[in-house]
Symmetry: C2
Subunit: 339 residues, 2 copies
């Protein structure tokens, strides 16, 4: 394992000239010298020692990928396909630029701050914020470049990228209304806790209002979590005298649960009930009927977040920005026309 010192000796230059070649400080070394050094570097398959570089420069080129732990007993968020996909794209982006992704599941901001010091981490991306208090706390106490996904706080200077959730909710409801539905429900986890869900719900309300369609509170299934929650909501719908003809779920897994419970009772989707999901995740194409859903471009989201982080790492004045990515309705087979 050749070191800079050995390379320098063989090339007959100083250690710092080799360092300048490696770090592409073109202006600081003549083309001839650079070529000679580079040749020797390659001959020895020189590999940079990042620990040494980090120690002297205080920058590690490590980017922390933060995954909050939602429940006490669960492993990390990577169980969620959306998170896995995001992390995959982020890793690809970082690798292409010689940055190194380190993942961390955490429950409180101290764990994050400690990791940052431990490794002199250059920047972090918060992938699936769950708890608003923890996220808020982290944003407030992070004196380093941090990009937050899917969450934004007006009262803080922060970098965030999200999607137009409100428009997503609107598009879903608008689609159902256009097809003649007037009795439309909404199912999601604790609508009043997360701004993302709130926005989706708000968009749904916007469309209803615009179309002067009624909203029956009994059709709002608040506190619906994941597949099991969806199944429960589906059962309740079947028991209702005054049931909705369509329901929008705040995530695909909930929509899948609703569809499953209807099918298990012998009902067919979309004949009995039209269902629209959110996220266009893997399951939406797996089930039958394929799920109509509000989709987002996850790769674009990852690239946008990483680009913002890179800008923040070079420009210390760049600490407040918000990108809102567009969203589109992906029509598949879980919705029908009402006469």
């Amino acid at each position: 394992m050749a070191t800079i010192k050995e390379i320098a000796a063989e090339a007959g230059v100083s250690v710092m000239t080799v360092s300048n070649v490696i770090n592409q400080n073109r202006s600081r070394v003549s083309p001839a010298t650079e070529a000679r050094v580079r040749e020797i570097l390659e001959k020895h398959h020189y590999v940079r020692n990042m620990a040494a570089r980090t120690l002297s420069s205080k920058s590690s080129r490590i980017v922390g990928l933060l995954l909050p732990i939602w429940y006490e007993d669960s492993a990390s968020m990577l169980l969620d396909p959306y998170a896995g996909q995001l992390v995959g794209y982020l890793e690809e982006f970082l690798r292409a630029r010689q940055y190194y992704p380190m993942i961390l599941s955490f429950k409180n901001s101290d764990q994050v701050l400690t990791l940052r010091k431990t490794w002199q981490i250059d920047g972090m991306i918060l992938v699936m914020p769950h708890n608003d208090a923890v996220t808020h706390d982290l944003v407030e106490n992070s004196a380093f470049p941090l990009v937050v996904l899917d969450r934004f706080y007006d009262d803080l200077d922060m970098l965030s990228v999200g999607i137009n959730d409100r428009r997503g909710g609107y598009l879903a409801a608008r689609h159902l209304l256009d097809l003649g539905h007037r009795r439309i429900g909404f199912a999601g986890p604790s609508i009043f806790e997360s701004s993302v869900i709130q926005d989706r719900y708000q968009g749904f309300l916007d469309a209803l209002k615009e179309a002067k369609a009624p909203l029956n509170p009994a059709w709002v299934f608040d506190g619906t979590f994941h597949q099991a929650g969806g199944e429960e909501a589906g059962r309740r719908i079947l028991e209702m005298e005054d049931a909705p003809t369509a329901v929008i779920a705040s995530e695909d897994l909930i929509a899948c649960g609703i569809i499953r419970s209807l099918q298990e009772q012998g009902y067919s989707v979309p004949e009995k009930l039209s269902v629209i999901g959110f996220d266009d995740s893997l399951p939406s194409r797996l089930i039958s009927p394929a799920l109509t859903t509000v989709g987002q471009d996850i790769r674009l989201k990852a690239d946008t977040a990483a680009s913002m982080l890179f800008q923040a790492m070079t420009d210390s004045a760049y600490r407040k920005d918000r990108r809102v990515l567009e969203v589109r309705l992906i029509q598949r087979d879980s919705v029908r026309k009402i006469d």
Copy 2:
């Protein structure tokens, strides 16, 4: 940010005594000194500088989580829920022991070797080996602790943990035979390329042979990939005059595809065809009918792999071991009894 030096000055001891306290070298420091140092450490919220530690000790406590890139155009393997889950559990295991997970998608072993040198990585875990040539190459050239999941080469000294695939294939076929099926098919990707698929297929053959059931080559759907492949296989089954009454898929996604294509043609599962999948992944509980599948304990797999890695990191003689985890049939609703 306090350093060891400052702590040492305040405690009135040498730098190396502080280092010994931090590194739990109990025997090398008196209880009284240790208590005093520890108190000052906590007062200053001392956080270890891993770059400095790595530089001087040549060990980083970083564990590389390797994710091969299967296709040119895809992002990393984290798109696969199985990989995401595994990485999540591994991260949890490592974090609990103060090790740091760095993820790397790669196409060839050079990228891995370079990363190892770059960060003096202590050990690696290969999560979803795909290409046998690359994996073989990596195992051969890794002079460092490496644990490979789901793959084993008799001709090499290596550490691996997999599941009893052959028994899995056997259990699936046995279950169908017990329910009266005699016409059973098998669908999987290139059966003769991956040992995992080969083993599952072999177990399937074992059961057929034992029961003296016939095997029609037309019922073996070789080269079936993911959901799209499953859908194609489903369509072909529907067109057959001499169709099987049941089919075993080498992974859940394929089984889901088969079921979807039947349902789209108006047929019902398991009435028209019984289907068994492999892996007990998220989708298997999402679809209707819920998928009967061969399940494995992913958390146990992650913990086993990580434990083996830790042993290898402390014991340089431990370089050859193979753990085969048991497998079980998870009965759900995609299989019926034949009269």
